[in-house]
């Protein structure tokens, strides 16, 4: 098995070769370089490595040919890619371009055990009758997630809703008395929570490291936090 494992970049080459052969009937080094946007010498290098592992037949100036083992390996890689891509695009409703790119990155690290379970899940959601309400829900909910995702990004502390915990991401360097805030623990990585506001005022009451502090909303504007939970 050990000689069967190849690096993720070689997997990409093998996958590309298989696709080109499928489309054009044969694959030249130049086509491969174009498809993967790499330089010719890198392609030559990779082809030699693949040939040394007995996955392709390669000599310069001739089109690349797959060996039987090469075709099998390429099929596995492409199956993984396809399964992941369809999981991202059909179940998670991520657009094709991002689904493709994400699949490319994950396919090299994911184990067969995890992948096959993802495939089972995807097939079930896609085709089982009793999953129809789930499909409807996914169609409806998933596209909205990306929009809400922006809310989970960094916001200013004065916009943080009450009783929501958040982690300090950064503090503007030009905030007046930034050192004083830092001394009290308002540095990146600190967990905090807004407890309330003062009556007719601009004071916030926040909980930081087990103590209650009150700071002005005007200063809180310069403290950037990411909500957690």
């Amino acid at each position: 098995m050990a000689d069967n494992t190849i690096s993720s970049s070689l997997e990409d080459y093998l996958e590309a070769i298989a696709e080109i052969i499928e489309n054009n009937g044969h694959a030249h080094a130049k086509d491969i370089a174009e498809r993967l946007s790499v330089k010719m010498p890198s392609v030559t290098n990779a082809l030699q490595s693949l040939a040394a592992r007995g996955l392709i037949k390669y000599s310069s100036h001739l089109p690349v040919e797959m060996t039987t083992r090469g075709s099998e390996t390429a099929a596995v890689i492409r199956h993984r890619h396809g399964a992941l891509k369809s999981f991202f695009s059909e179940i998670l409703k991520i657009d094709d371009f991002e689904a493709d790119g994400t699949a490319c990155r994950i396919e090299h690290v994911i184990s067969d055990a995890v992948l096959s379970r993802i495939v089972v899940l995807a097939d079930a959601v896609r085709s089982r009758k009793d999953c129809a309400p789930l499909r409807e829900y996914l169609d409806d909910a998933m596209p909205k997630v990306s929009a809400e995702g922006d809310d989970l990004a960094v916001i200013a502390l004065d916009k943080l809703p009450r009783h929501v915990s958040a982690v300090v991401v950064s503090v503007d360097e030009n905030l007046r008395g930034v050192k004083k805030f830092a001394d009290l623990g308002l540095v990146s990585g600190t967990l905090l929570r807004v407890e309330g506001r003062a009556p007719f005022g601009d004071l916030l009451r926040i909980k930081v490291m087990g103590s209650s502090l009150s700071i002005r909303a005007g200063d809180a504007m310069h403290i950037w936090v990411r909500p957690v939970e």
Partner: protein, 719 residues
């Protein structure tokens, strides 16, 4: 083995440091101010066996930066104070934040003991500590204590004597801040070596290297380190870039990083985390809607407590001084040293006694303040009122002093101590005496019924109080936008968890303030009373006494008068004698001299000389007027009524209103000025305040009088 040791008590605000201090030293403490600043300086002494221990209680600080007076004081004391041992008190329930100061203290390379205080509270909240690990981490023994009950303090004593006995004292471990930062500290230390100021000989170069790296304003500006600033800045940028953090706050970042590493391993939070009681209370007390009513209720209770409970002891003190005066005049024959006799009875007992009457007020007010402060409510009060005060350039912490100003300006001025920012504090001190204090009340209650119809009396009183508040706030607004403009400091305030303060700490605090007040009564006020007595009595018109004695003798000789008539006429003559004597005296002459100036504001010379008395204390205004209008004893009911009739015959309601305005807006008493001098630390400030108040009072009275005269409002005599 040393036989004496000097230790410094350091810690965050609200970590229970003062309780530990009180427990260690008992009543052997000395309170003063640090030279040049109004930060309280406390030292105490105690013995452990043969070892004499001196403890310096440093002000509570979050950091050894130089950004507030407290921090500067703590910093200087540690840098140059010959401290042998640092006791770092830590609120165990909030160790992560408290240990931030600890990391800075380790840099000083002074042997240290960590006191994990309020350990009961922390354990109850489900925290458990691996003290062995923490102790190894900081290189200092750890003693868990409960300050309020004194638990484990004997172990603390043992640790102190052990540290004193050690041949080579154990030095704290310097934390590692990560490769680049440590490299920077090392490089800068080498530069600092040999260049550090002579008076800081004990401190390691590494300490200054870190301060330079932090861009500490004071260390970076030391001439010895000229040129090192740029190098530190280069390192700073490199570290900031490398770690992706702010270059301004990089040491804070790395310190908190180090601490969170230490805490993750050594402090564990049990599953059962009880919701903190403190948070539940805050849910009501600082609520957007309930906060204000709760606050008003609390303030009402404080006033009730202070003023109604003080009534009885005030009565006792008053009768005590009356008894003194009577006893002395009975024992001391009138013929022997008459000047001294009168000065003692009228000047000293009258003046100092008149001020000491307020002692119960002050005592109870400070008791209430100490309680509110100790429980943690004071910070909430500032939080609640901040929004309103902010509109006038002040913040929440100024509210309490202003409120206290309705009672008495002296404790109100002293209560400004809770305000950290010096500009805000001075502004508050400046405006507090505009609040209508209790001593002005007798003036209103004498004048208003004499001049205003019943339906307007309450309104007039209310109006005067409001005018005081409005002028105070406008002055604050003016000062904050001109002289005392401050951008330098930011407002961050900790709301400490609610706690029950110990009786000992409240009593000690109360005693300190009372002692201060007594000292003042014994010095400034005593002196002022004597001076006032002299200008009220001298020069004496020669033959005046003889002339009136003759007239009185003539009255006594008239056989056709009834006994009652005889008494009345005698009293009238005695009063007239006093009045004439006063008009001849220095005070009377000054009053006449002032008439030129005071006339446009509606005052005659009598009011002028009464105002001189009122300068010492507003209560004296009524008494002075009583003498001038020759009504004898103005304190008795008939005397007061008589005076009111006399006044109504002499002045218009408009004039009366202007007199009250003037009394409201001038500095309440000499005691206030003395308190302002102490708290501001400057005579110039006192002079400025006096000038401001007198000018404002005069101008307001002038404008009101002239406008009123022009519009014919209240210009007719009612009597």
């Amino acid at each position: 083995m040393k036989n004496s040791i000097k230790i410094a008590l350091a810690g965050n605000p609200n970590c229970g440091k003062t309780t530990i201090f009180n427990h260690l030293t008992g009543t052997r403490q000395h309170v003063g101010n640090y030279p040049g600043v109004t930060v309280e300086r406390k030292t105490g002494f105690f013995n452990i066996g043969d070892l004499a221990v001196e403890v310096v209680d440093l002000p509570g600080v979050y950091s050894l930066a130089n950004s507030s007076p407290e921090e500067k004081v703590a910093f200087n004391e540690l840098m140059t104070g010959d401290i042998d041992l640092v006791l770092n008190v830590i609120d165990s329930g909030n160790a992560q934040r408290n240990l931030y100061l600890t990391t800075q203290l380790t840099e000083l390379d002074i042997p240290m003991i960590l006191v994990f205080n309020m350990i009961d509270d922390a354990t109850e909240r489900g925290l458990s500590f691996n003290f062995k690990m923490l102790s190894g981490f900081f290189g200092a023994p750890i003693i868990p204590t409960i300050g309020s009950s004194g638990t484990n303090l004997e172990k603390l004593n043992a640790a102190i004597s052990e540290a004193a006995a050690a041949e080579t004292p154990r030095r704290p471990v310097k934390p590692k801040y990560g490769p680049v930062t440590d490299m920077a500290i090392h490089a800068l230390s080498e530069e600092v070596e040999g260049r550090q100021p002579a008076h800081t000989g004990k401190l390691p170069p590494r300490y200054f290297a870190i301060k330079l790296l932090e861009n500490d304003p004071i260390i970076s500006a030391m001439p010895e380190f000229d040129g090192l600033g740029e190098e530190a800045a280069k390192w700073r940028d490199r570290i900031a870039q490398r770690n992706g953090i702010n270059s301004e706050t990089l040491m804070a970042d790395v310190r908190y990083g180090v601490i969170s590493g230490a805490c993750r391993e050594a402090i564990t939070l049990g599953n059962e985390r009880r919701r903190q009681l403190s948070d539940s209370i805050d849910r009501f007390v600082t609520n957007r809607f309930l906060g204000v009513p709760v606050f008003l209720l609390m303030m009402y209770l404080v006033f009730m407590f202070t003023f109604s409970l003080a009534e009885y002891p005030m009565g006792w003190i008053e009768s005590f001084f009356m008894w003194c005066a009577e006893t002395i005049s009975a024992v001391w024959p009138a013929a022997a040293l008459p000047f001294l006799r009168r000065m003692l009875i009228e000047g000293v007992i009258g003046g100092v006694g008149g001020v000491l009457i307020f002692l119960p007020n002050i005592l109870l007010l400070f008791l209430a303040i100490a309680f509110l402060e100790g429980t943690g409510y004071m910070a909430r009060a500032a939080f609640i009122t901040d929004g309103f005060m902010h509109k006038f350039g002040l913040h929440g912490k100024s509210f309490i002093p202003m409120l206290l100003g309705f009672g008495c300006s002296v404790p109100a001025v002293m209560a400004t101590r809770t305000i950290d920012n010096r500009c805000d504090r001075l502004t508050t001190i400046m405006i507090v005496p505009f609040m209508s204090c209790g001593a002005r009340l007798p003036i209103y209650s004498m004048m208003i019924p004499a001049f205003f119809p019943k339906e307007f009396q309450a309104f007039t009183m209310w109006l005067l109080y409001i005018i005081g508040v409005v002028i105070a706030l406008l002055t604050a607004l003016l000062l904050k936008s001109t002289l005392f403009k401050s951008d330098g400091e930011v407002f961050v305030m900790e709301l400490p968890p609610y706690r029950m303060p110990t009786l000992q700490s409240i009593l000690i605090l109360m005693w300190e303030n009372t002692a201060m007040y007594l000292k003042k009564a014994g010095t400034v006020i005593l002196l002022a009373s004597i001076i006032l007595f002299i200008i009220n009595s001298y020069p004496e018109k020669s033959g005046l006494a003889a002339q009136y004695e003759a007239e009185i003798a003539a009255v006594a000789a008239q056989p056709e008068l009834t006994e009652q008539d005889r008494l009345d006429r005698t009293a009238k003559l005695r009063a007239a004698e006093k009045s004439e004597a006063l008009s001849y005296s220095l005070a009377g002459r000054i009053g006449r001299g002032l008439e030129v100036v005071l006339k446009p504001a509606g005052f005659d010379w009598k009011i002028g000389s009464a105002l001189i008395g009122a300068f010492a204390a507003k209560e004296l205004f009524v008494a002075q007027l009583g003498i001038l209008y020759a009504v004898g004893d103005s304190d008795t009911e008939s005397g007061a009524e008589h005076l009111q009739k006399e006044l109504a015959r002499s002045y218009t309601p408009l004039q009366a209103f202007c007199i009250m305005l003037f009394c409201l807006l001038t500095v309440p008493c000499i005691a206030t000025l003395a308190a302002v001098r102490k708290e501001s630390g400057s005579w110039l400030f006192v002079g400025a305040q006096l000038a401001l108040y007198t000018t404002v009072a005069y101008l307001v009275a002038l404008i009101v009088f002239q406008a009123g005269t022009l519009l014919h409002i209240g210009t007719g005599l009612v009597g």
